[in-house]
Amino acid sequence: MKVKERISDRIWLVFVHVFVALVVLLMTLPFINILALSFSGETAVIQGRVTFWPIDFTLNTYERVFTESQILLALRNTVWLTLVGTVINVVLTVLAAYPLAKRRLKGRNVFLALITFTMIFYAGIIPHYINIKNLKLLDSFWSLWLSGALSTYNMIILKTFFQSLPESLEESAQIDGASPIRILVQIVLPLSKAALATIALFYAVGWWNSYFNNMLYINKAELTTLQIRLKELLSLTNSNLFQNADASEQNKIVEESVKAVSIVIATVPILIVYPFLQKYFVKGVMIGSIKG
């Protein structure tokens, strides 16, 4: 009986390991394929010989993309967008989460109700667009920075975190007559470094990946951002998707490498911050799942 169980369990465990390994492989291979394409020589790509390893290793396509496609401008803009945006986000999130974490705050429920309502009822794309237009913010990063100055979801996560800090920490300082701002800066924030770092990273990734609002609010070529430029480069090869007759064979394939390189360029910064993100995000998801 016992032996039989062990065999069934062993078969099950082998199945689980093989299955998970397969899923991981399936999820990783597309990206490896793109990486391989991005580093492969043109002829190898044209002949369709590249699968999961670069053939005729070269950096030519990278050189071409960086010199020809305005991607440096988009990168510079995106770094600026991300930096300023994240600073605004973190400051405003703290300014919202700290007072709202205080149960003694009169009017707290009214503020929370007003904020929650905006999560339940969305005015819609067009009213938001008209609003930004009326505020004369179109074609400026301020439209993105200000309209995305705060994420209610992240604010609630930080509020929950502040509420989890022991009250006694602040009480003694309060008795000594320290003001709320002083308590926040000198006691609470130093204790919240990890939480703030997590939230900052999440905001930063959001800015880096931002696409739709950039497309909606910004039409100036000199303000193009990375995802917008990437989408433009990817669309070049829509001719390829439809096997358009007027695109020459040569051009089609070279576009293929350009596409791969652009995807890699857009993801490398995410890969760099990912280990830091991963260190904290599991906790973040769990805090978020407990209601504030």
Partner: protein, 317 residues
Amino acid sequence: MSVAMHRKTRKSRYRTKFWRNYLANNYQLYLMLVPVLLYYFLFHYLPYSGLLMAFQDYKLGLGIEGSEFVGLKHFHTLFRSSEFWKILKNTIALNLLNLVLYFPAPIILAILLNEIRNVVFKRVAQSLMYLPYFFSWVVIGGMFVDILSPGTGVVNKILSALTGGKTIFFMASTFWWPIMFVLSTMYKEVGWGSIIYLAAITGIDAELYEAARIDGANRWQQILHVTLPCISQTIVILLILRMGSVLNVGMEQILMLENAAVKSISDVISTYTYRMGIQQLQYSKTTAIGVFQSLINMVLMLLANHISKRLTGDGIW
């Protein structure tokens, strides 16, 4: 009488004293909230006034103040147009497809990950599966279109090697496109989505497994009779919340994956609104669609929250 009056003034004096004290100690908290409330006013409440456009023949030059009110005209034409019902049908169909095919995936993944005892293997697997969540839809959409392309995509290369030259035009086929749509959701979110179930599984009392083992349950039976019942509450909450957003389809995801060949099934409320509203300047008509969508969403979300609270004692607010 004079005593009563005296008491009254004393009470109000206490009250003013209390308030003076309270404000002296806490005014800074309100100061902090000033920019926050300003943000919510400017970028969430001010746009609500734009909802009026749905009831007007809105003209850009005239603004909301000057445009003529036309009552429910736009809603009438909307509900009578076949196009509206088509995008509504597409939105719900893609959502239901996601619900049936995607929703169980993170649950299954979490259960399988929990079975793995090798810490290094588990950690590596988790790291690689959470990663795509942080990629933009532009990147993931681009990757999907790229590897599935009939001419140069690696998937068709493998397919043609296996079948002797047969290739499939995945993204241009109305049969394959919805499947690729769900697969792209899965690719981006299955790992991330499994975290919450893994957390629920970690919270299960080890004694329950002990008892099941003593009763002779193998690992598979332990999953059926311990793990699944124990995380059913989490599953129900997330399922209900999912149902509450049945009119929302990730707009960026569609914009990246769509193409002319599959427009008849890929066009959803949000993409239609964007195209008609921003690109063709039909502000009033598209705001009416938005009002319809937001109202249904609100009702569904309130309902979902209510059901979730009734069933499990827990909701989102």
